[in-house]
């Protein structure tokens, strides 16, 4: 009854064991294999029951590194010593020679659990080759992604080219597990691709020896022109002469080259290489370089643009400072010269007048000569004053007030009331739009223009001055028109330059500074001045000045 019951149980157990998806191997207390289930036989690649009665040592697993493990460390052997082995992983050679990755557990089997009478051991194992491969690939992808992320981050932060090279070669060498990694950058001067420091695995002093001629790069162009990196290997039986040449010139066994392209132009190459032939590049290495290259090229290009932009802006700043300094010096020079000229002039004039006073009965001829001295002193004095005003206009920053142009124009005319009366002038001033500017400076503009009109009037006709103004798109255009002697338009630009005069003092008195000062003031206001004239018919001066903005007018009213 008991036997029957037992054998009944055994049959049930057998069914369970056979239908189990994992391999199951049972050994007796000395390690003789007494059963391997169907899944187990298939996994081991054996015909059913082939190795029954053989010793378990027949199946000798290896560690994951490929080393054989000692016989006493085989899981079933350990289980026979009463140990429990859970989820250990080994490499196992199947009957056909293929190696699989297995996960194995083993447990001792006792006749009665209580008495410790060990009658054998059982091992459960399954093929995890594919699973582990996938996991390894995933881990590799993760490492690659992490590496790429690091490269992207580091190159984005680096501003200077060598810093980018450094980040790239070190991280790539680590990712590709290679012992040489370097960037060859194109030199447009001699059409060479030259290795740049810092490079991984190349001494800084030896770096100049690593050079690729454009010619050579062109020869391998067919491959370089595709996005795929060029993989060179000494052991490749079909390696071309050129490829072998490249490898030998670097003293390496294999190499992988990928182009760096920016704005449709090859600016360089990334090269990774191995000096010994037990390391070869894999498909994932190729993929990795392919991913990194555009990013690296972009980082390098950005850095170059950044450096260029900084250089340009630094140059512009230097130039602006230089110009400002020259301008300041010029104004300071004008000021100090004209200032220092006043003292001797004062002395000449003062002593001449003292002389005149102390000699009451001087001859007419001598008196005339003394008068000429005084007249010339006065002329020089007004020249100096004009120069001073001119230099002041250069250093003075115009105020930005809303100017009642009509009122200032009337003030300016008022200054010349006597002169205008003397030449029976007819002056028409239309309503003028307000402008934005410096009242004191603008009055100088108007007085100069009016004084010009008076001085260059034609003697045979009464002077007529018409002053009008219009406003268009943010600017006010003022026109001061006269019927005077005018000038030849060929000399238009000359009249606005310092000390350029079109007339002698016989025709009209002038310093040669008035219109230059007018132009300087107008331009300091952000405006323009120009003239239209016909010789003998008259001249019109056009002054364009900024109009007050909407906001300023509102402010003024509020």
């Amino acid at each position: 009854m008991l036997v029957l019951a037992l054998s009944h149980q055994a049959a049930q157990l057998q069914t369970v064991v056979e239908s189990f998806p994992d391999g199951i191997m049972i050994v007796d207390h000395v390690g003789t294999i007494i059963h391997v289930n169907a899944a187990g036989q298939e996994l081991l690649g054996d015909r059913p029951s082939k190795h029954i009665q053989e010793h378990v040592w027949r199946y000798h697993p290896h560690t994951l590194d490929g080393d054989p493990i000692p016989a006493q460390d085989i899981p079933l052997a350990r289980a026979l010593r009463g140990e429990r082995v859970v989820d250990h992983e080994y490499l196992l050679q199947r009957s056909d020679g293929t190696i699989i990755h297995v996960n194995m557990s083993a447990n001792p089997v006792y006749a009665h659990e209580q008495d410790g009478n060990l009658i054998g051991a059982v091992s459960i194992f399954r093929d995890v080759t594919e699973q582990r491969q996938q996991e390894a690939e995933q881990a590799q992808r993760l490492r690659e992604l992490e590496g790429l992320r690091e490269i992207a981050q580091a190159t984005a932060l680096a501003r200077k080219e060598p810093a980018i090279y450094g980040v790239l070669v070190v991280r790539l060498a680590r990712l590709l597990q290679t012992n040489l990694c370097v960037l060859f950058m194109r030199d447009d001067q001699d059409d060479m691709f030259k290795a740049r420091a810092p490079a991984y695995g190349i001494d800084e002093t030896a770096i100049t020896r690593y050079v690729l001629a454009l010619e050579l790069v062109n020869q391998v162009r067919l491959l370089v022109e595709t996005d795929r990196p060029l993989v060179l290997d000494e052991r490749d039986s079909e390696i071309s002469e050129v490829h072998g040449q490249i490898l030998r010139s670097f003293g390496v066994q294999n190499a992988i080259l990928v182009r760096l392209e920016a704005r449709g132009r090859i600016i360089g190459l990334i090269a990774a290489a191995n000096k010994c032939d037990n390391q070869r590049f894999t498909e994932s290495d190729v993929r990795l370089l392919q991913t990194v290259a555009p990013q690296a090229a972009l980082a390098i290009e950005n850095s170059r643009l950044y450096t260029q932009a900084r250089h340009i802006s630094a140059q512009a700043q230097v130039q602006a400072r230089h110009l400002a300094r020259i301008n300041d010096e010029l104004d300071a020079f004008t000021y100090s010269v004209s200032h220092d000229l006043r003292a001797p002039l004062r002395a000449i004039n003062g002593f001449t007048q003292l002389l005149e006073r102390s000699l009451p009965d001087i001859p007419e001829r001598a008196r005339h000569q003394l008068t000429r001295i005084r007249v010339n002193v006065e002329k020089m004095s007004s020249l100096i004053d004009a120069l001073l005003a001119f230099s002041r206009a250069g250093r003075h920053v115009p105020e930005q007030a809303i100017i009642d142009t009509t009122a200032i124009m009337r003030d300016a005319l008022h200054l010349y009331a006597q002169d205008l009366l003397n030449c029976q002038a007819q002056v028409v001033v239309h309503d003028l739009p307000s402008v934005l500017g410096d009242g004191r400076l603008l009055e100088q503009v108007f007085t100069n223009l009016i004084s010009n009109a008076i001085r260059y009037r034609r003697k045979e006709e009464p002077l007529r001055i018409t002053i009008s103004g219009t406003q268009t798109s943010g600017m006010v255009l003022l026109v001061i028109r006269d019927n005077g002697s005018g000038f030849d338009m060929r000399y238009h630009d000359k009249i606005f330059q310092v000390f350029q005069r079109l007339h002698t003092d016989e025709v009209a008195q002038g310093t040669g500074i008035g219109l230059a000062l007018v132009r300087k003031i107008v331009e300091r206001h952000g405006g323009r001045i120009w003239a239209e004239a016909t010789p003998g018919k008259g001249a019109a001066f056009f002054v364009e000045l900024p109009a007050p903005g909407q906001s300023q007018e509102n402010q003024d009213e509020g």
Binding site: Y335, R342, R346, G350, F351, E378, R392
Partner: protein
């Protein structure tokens, strides 16, 4: 004309340009201002005189009643002299008329706001100079009530 003159209402002229000095004195003479004029030729001499130190340590305690001060001076700048005068509790009561060579310099004076009582731009025309001297003279020495020294 000596600074230690017993006459009151002395004028101090601080001027380094001998021509300007001669012309100013001539203009004062023309106006027949009998006031003694002490001429000092640089900023340091002006300070020594006014503060009775150095070469002027022994001079009488009598202080001038008007100072005509040029701005561009050797050794110590006219502005510095002006600043020192106005920082001294006694000297600050003496009217100071600043003589400038140009309107530009006049701007400097107003900008510094050092308390000059007046400033004039040295006119080139001698007649104008005389008028100016006359105006200053009559204004500060006659019309203005002198502060107690």
């Amino acid at each position: 004309m000596r600074g230690d003159s017993a006459l009151p209402l002395a004028i101090v002229l601080v001027e380094d340009n001998p021509d300007d000095e001669e012309l100013t004195l001539a203009a004062l003479e023309e106006y027949r201002l009998r006031n003694p004029v002490v001429v000092l030729r640089d900023g340091q001499e002006a300070i020594d005189y006014l503060f009775r130190q150095g070469a002027y340590a022994q001079r009488s305690a009598e202080q001038p009643h008007l100072i005509l001060l040029d701005l561009k001076l050797p050794k110590v700048d006219g502005l510095e002299v002006l600043r020192m005068i106005k920082a001294d509790p006694l000297l600050r009561r003496i009217p100071v008329v600043v003589l400038t060579s140009s309107r530009e310099e006049a701007d400097v004076i107003t900008g510094y706001d050092l308390g000059a009582n007046s400033y004039i731009v040295k006119p080139i025309d001698f007649e104008q100079l005389m008028t100016t001297v006359r105006t200053i003279g009559s204004y500060w020495l006659i019309v203005n009530e002198q502060p107690p020294v």
